[in-house]
Symmetry: C2
Subunit: 329 residues, 2 copies
Amino acid sequence: MDKPNLLVTNSFVKGGLDSLRQYANIYLLDDLDDAALDEVLPSIDCVFVQTWWPDSLTPERVRRMPRLRFVQSGMAGVNHIPFKELGERVTVSSNAGGFSVGVAEYAFALVLAAAKGIVRFDHAVKAGEFKPEDWEKMVHEIMPLRGRTLGILGLGGIGREVASMARAVGMNVIGFSRHPGGDPHVKVYHGSEGMRRVLRMSDAMVISLPLTKLTVGLISGPEFADMKGDAVLVNVARAEIVDEEALYKHLARFPRFTYATDVWQIKRGKESYSSKFPLLKLPNFIGTPHVAGGSSAITGEPGRSATDNLARFLRGEAPRNVVDPSEYI
Amino acid sequence: MDKPNLLVTNSFVKGGLDSLRQYANIYLLDDLDDAALDEVLPSIDCVFVQTWWPDSLTPERVRRMPRLRFVQSGMAGVNHIPFKELGERVTVSSNAGGFSVGVAEYAFALVLAAAKGIVRFDHAVKAGEFKPEDWEKMVHEIMPLRGRTLGILGLGGIGREVASMARAVGMNVIGFSRHPGGDPHVKVYHGSEGMRRVLRMSDAMVISLPLTKLTVGLISGPEFADMKGDAVLVNVARAEIVDEEALYKHLARFPRFTYATDVWQIKRGKESYSSKFPLLKLPNFIGTPHVAGGSSAITGEPGRSATDNLARFLRGEAPRNVVDPSEYI
């Protein structure tokens, strides 16, 4: 039997594909012009979409891949995958876990930078805006970590890693999860009432949930109202989990509340690094350009994790991290 | 016998003095005008200097305190104490340890913020200077923590706390100390050759040494030359431990090297929050206005630590953290 045909989109994770050549013929999307792409489409068995789903794989082209059975996402989030066009015959695996350490380190760094006021203090000094008479007020706005409570929304690979780091600096860690069980060291709450309890108890929070039909707009006005007025909220998941208007109103009303995000609303198919609200002018808003996951790539772990799972599929084994399309369509 | 007379300077740490009233008559410097101060000076047995040594306690006034036997510093650093005027009859205790947790948390937050590029990424996004085409370069400049080496210069209370936090996120921790022994989990190097080895091996470094005759200008040109070109150096001790000109030259030459400091050169008796070199314009310089120690005060721990030690002296017990004046004069 011929080897299956694998189409690899984007070239961000270079190398690492060699281990797959024993199982599949590999086509790189970047090497194919429109005509060549159209020629190989009917023979493609699986797609490795390394970052965002590419514009060139239009719904019309997806329909011209009748042999397609498997899509491996290079990212942990799969909300960009066109589940509707892929239909029920295609299995989609996320790269959950592949980024856990790097993203958790970044999330934890955002928690600490926000809790300690580093970004705004550095800005005040550099802009010549620091006034010695404000010093005592400033130091009282710095959050001690030891003994404070970190709430983790979503206890997947990233959430569990953050929990471990936070416990090590003496924080109490609680979590919100859909699933029972989880981390034995973390008190986990479930359901909407459970989430409210986490929001109310936490001094700092990390969002590490997937973006699904269930989580889009999950954090809106009522949820902000449940949070402490001087809490820290970190988002390393997807911007759309937080309602942007409610966020802006909350930050404007509670200047000691800090929102630190690495993720941004998608506009016209791309992350915007901006907001229709004047969020970026607020000193209690910290924003970085979705670098947490990318930084993991240095270690090679996300690439290994994704290609290992692809190899499982190509060898006829059951792939891991299969997602439920009904949560996304 | 009459109770000893205690002069308390500055009123930063309010409260907490009540526990000392059973042992001493307390005079608050802020309550005394010049005439009243001059009247009590001859009867003062000990001084609690809560922050910097006050201008009003001039050398001439120090000479008018013949009964003075003990000075308790509210700060961990004692380089501001006028050891020469105090002479050999006065014992000086630092507040080493009182700030350990708060300063260590802050130092660790600076390490993480610098390693992950949070300050400059946030600045780039907010200034509209982030270019998507720079993204891949940017993410490759983010330092993973797990498996990297943190070098701690000075393994007192702060250094040991930082070591514990860094190990918990999977960093290898090494240290430089004058003293043998120390933390069993940290490989400690001694002497000037030992310090060079720490500088050469470390991906990130924290300075948590006292400022003494031995450490002033300790980190200068040759020491920077020993460091990795993309390392992180955090200073939560005293600015004068680092030669400012050598620092500026190093940061200008190695844009991927980051210096993050909470401490500043003393100019005309005050911390300057500025530099005669254009340090503050460099994107690889992070500076915050000496808030790490102050932030500890929220927990009350520094005040407790200092007053506990004062109580030891006042009860006739041997005070802890006695400093060697010969290291400062």
